[in-house]
Each structure stands twice: as C-alpha cells, then as structure tokens.
Assembly symmetry: C2
Homo-oligomer: 277 residues x 2
C-alpha cells in the first residue's frame, strides 16, 4: 500500500492510498478518514460507496462526512467506483466502464478481467484496512449514493453480520427494473439471467431481509426519481417481507452532493447509534 496524499481534517487525518489489487488486476485507489478518537484505540468503520463517475474525492470534499465522523468517532472508507487504468476496459458512456462498476462481478468480456467490485470490497480491501488502520472490523456500517446506494444495500443484505448498519442517499433500489441497471447488467452480466437478481436490492430483501433498520433519504426534486430510482417497488417489498426501513422524501432536493451534505449528519448518527465510537 502506497500513501499518495494526507491532510489534517476535523482533528483527524484524511489519507489517500494506492495498492495493487489481485481481485481487480489493477491499481486501486481509496481514501480513509481516521477520526481523532482513533488515537485511543480502534474505531468503528463506515463505508461510503459513491455513485456513477465518482472517485473517493467527491464524498470527502463535498459531503461533510468527515465533520460528522469526527464528532461520532467513526472511520470513513471511500473506495473508488470501479477498476481504472489504461489497461482496463472502458466505454464512452458515463454509466458503463470506468467510474461505473455497479458493485458486482462481471461475467462478460471484456469486463470480467477487472470488474469485480463486490469481491474487491468484501474480501480484499477490508484486509488492507484492518492491517493498516486503527479500525474495529467487528463494527462496520455501509452507506452510499445512487449507484453506491445500490452497492451499500446489496452488500448489507448479503453480509448483514459484516455491514451491521446500512443507509443510502437516493439509491438505485431495483436495477433490474430501471434503465441504468438494465444497461449495466446486460453489459456486465449478459442478457437477463439468474445472476441479475443477486445484485438487486428489491429481490434480495424478499429473500433475506436484515435485522437492521435501514435509513434512506430521497430528494423530492431528484431528476432521476421516477425513471431510475423508483423507490415504491422496494418499499412495498420491505413492507411485505418485514424489512425495517425509514424512507424520507425530502421536498425540493435533487440528486446532487448538496442533497447528500444536507442530510449526512443524520446518516452518520444513524450508524453511530448502533456502532458507538
């Protein structure tokens, strides 16, 4: 692991790191916010999975997450949204290829060689975190935005004992039913097949609701609300299958980081209440 940059921030440290990933077969970059409380021993970990086109930087620069994490004593991990590099397959579209990993394991050429973000996040990066940072890996939560909300929800539902708390900002809750998800899954997983459902939050919640209480904030003026996010099918599935969820429709808010920053305090507090620092 190589440290690229480091900044003092909110009494703690923001640092950015590269490492050679054996899962994605390329160099992966991630950021870690270590709160001041880590001086006294391992702290709980909050993963933030970002949306289409983003890197570690968006959430650390624009969301205010570090100020709230410093208050509650949480470490924040911001991974990249896909493998990257000249040798990694890409596409001119913003919603396919680099910056658009969709937190799944691709089965189709040319994507299958590098695009394994779910395996990278659950198997490889946690070992790096545990080995290099004062992180208490028995206390992990996960959140994210848009495509990253999809990532957070699916990983929480699949691994509820690892990611004990979950929240999301404007998540894609049923990729198999919306254009972003259908395009990505067809590209990475091939035409509709049994693999698709394992990456669909709405289908997962029908099979295995978690014991956690999920917090979701949704912008009422989000330009993607109707076509791409469509929370109703998911909320119906939660109701029918006993998944506890608080879904807050926030009038006037769009899909931007101004929306995320406006409600980040509540999300960090939501995780901290179950994963005390």
């Amino acid at each position: 692991m190589q440290t690229i940059s480091s900044w003092a921030a909110h009494g703690g440290t923001l640092s950015v790191h590269d490492h050679a990933s054996s899962t994605t077969n390329c160099t992966m970059r991630f950021a870690v916010y270590t709160p001041p409380q880590a001086k006294d021993g391992p702290v709980p970990v909050l993963w933030f999975l970002s949306g289409l086109t983003c890197t570690w930087a968006n959430v650390m620069e624009k969301s205010g997450i570090m100020a709230h994490a410093a208050q509650h004593g949480l470490m924040v991990i911001a991974p990249d949204t896909s493998p990257r590099g000249d040798d990694v397959a890409n596409d001119d579209a913003y919603d396919i290829g680099q910056g658009a990993g969709f937190y799944l394991t691709a089965t189709q050429a040319p994507w299958a060689e590098h695009f394994k973000m779910d395996q990278y996040l659950t198997n490889e990066l946690p070992v790096i975190i545990a080995g290099n940072f004062p992180a208490d890996m028995a206390r992990q939560g996960i959140t994210g935005h848009s495509m990253g909300g999809h990532g957070a929800l699916t990983l929480h539902l699949k691994y509820p004992e690892t990611y004990r708390t979950c929240s999301a900002f404007a998540p894609i809750v049923s990729p198999i039913r919306v254009p972003w998800g259908q395009k990505a899954f067809e590209t990475y997983l091939g035409p509709l097949n049994i693999d698709w459902e394992q990456y669909d939050t709405t289908e997962l919640v029908k099979e295995r609701p978690s014991d956690a209480h999920i917090l979701i904030d949704q912008g009422g003026a989000d330009q993607f609300l109707t076509e791409q996010l469509d929370p109703e099918t998911f909320l119906t599935a939660c109701k029918n299958h006993g998944q506890h969820v608080t879904h807050r429709m926030q009038p006037g808010y769009d899909h931007s980081y101004y929306f995320i920053a406006s409600f980040m305090a509540d999300h960090v507090a939501h995780h901290a209440s179950v994963l005390p620092g």
Copy 2:
C-alpha cells in the same frame, strides 16, 4: 440579474446568478446561500471572498459553510475572484489575471478596464443583493481565504461600519511584503507607489484599527506560511495599534479546503455572535 442554477441545501437555497456589471464592464457571476430563517424576514449577511483560481463554487461545495449558516441564520454571498470572459485581460500564470483579482482597482493597462473588484464588491454587488434577496444590509460580516482573506481584512478595515465583523483563513496579511502581493500589485498598480499601502492589511491596521475582534485561523503545515502569509508582522502591528485579533495556529493543517472546513463552524459562529440571525 439572471438565475443560472438553484439547489435546495440545508433547509435553505443555494442559487447562482449572472449580471452585467457596470463596474467591471463584464458579466459577473456570484452565489447566494439563503438560509431557512429568511422565510421569516431579512437575515444578516456573511461575505466569503475566495482565494486564487477560485469561483463561487469552491466555498459552497467544499467548506461546509452552508450547514453552519443554516444553523445560525446567516445569508452567505460568494462572489467571483475577478472579472472573467474572452474580452477580459488574462495571463497564463495562476496568480495574475482571471481568478486573481486581488480585491483592488487596477490602474495599469490592460487591467484597468475590468479589474475593479473592491469597487464592485462595495458599491455594485450590495445593491443587487439588497434588491433581490431577504438580506439585512445593516448586519454584514466578511471573511475569506488566502487572497480572499486579504480582501476580507482590507475591506473590513476600510469600511468597518459596513462589514461589522471580520475573520480570515490563512490570509495574505501584507501583500506589499510577499511575492504573491508584490507581483500582483506591480502588475495591477505599477511599480511601488502610494496606491500599494491602501491594499495592505498591515499598513491599514496601523492607520485605522477597527473596533471589531478579528478571528484568524492559520495552518501550521501551510506550504505558503513562511513565504507568502507570514503573519508575524501583521500581529505585531495589531498589538502595537490596538487591533483585537485572535490568531490560532492549527498544527498539521495545510492551505486546502480541508483546513477551511475544519474550522468553518467557529468562523460562522464568530460572525453570528455579533450579527445574530
């Protein structure tokens, strides 16, 4: 005035506007954060003047200022750092020309035609704000970063009854004594002459200290600390001439927006304590 964009943020509204300026002879862009308290009547105004290369966006996206302004009921105005446009003089250097207005009135060609940021900020933009937003112009404070800290300090000392409160992040406190200021002043004002001192905070504070208590935060690991910022001469002048100032050296912090965001809560509270919402 034309509204370019608008977002819900922290219970209020962030909006971005263009207008044709008769002072700078070009289209000027600025951003306004209107806090939720403005629904109940005019609110105090906090000006944030940005540093080299910045626009309205840096402070609104990265500093967390809106969250704190919403808490205290302050409006935030983020002007641009210079006139801009194809017809406006420019330079390849990041510290001269567009993005580097230095909050002064240029006397030298080709700059004198457009570069009048101090006049624009004190005479023209306030009329636009007062006419279009729920701002109480009897309660204004001013802050800024680096070059914008220089702008905030000089405008406060010249117009203490307009900008009743003042703070700064890593300000240029004596441009006539440091390379950034010497280069800019020589370019915009010509070789050392009587005009230079009127734009130098340290010289101004010797002549006319204000009754306000100025708050300054300084990064102890700021890469520009010794060569460009050099607070000691200014602090000595404050001491000798009765200017109240709290200068906080923050160990480990650099010149970035991570530094600004880490201490923004204290700055907004500093202004709000004198300009209650």
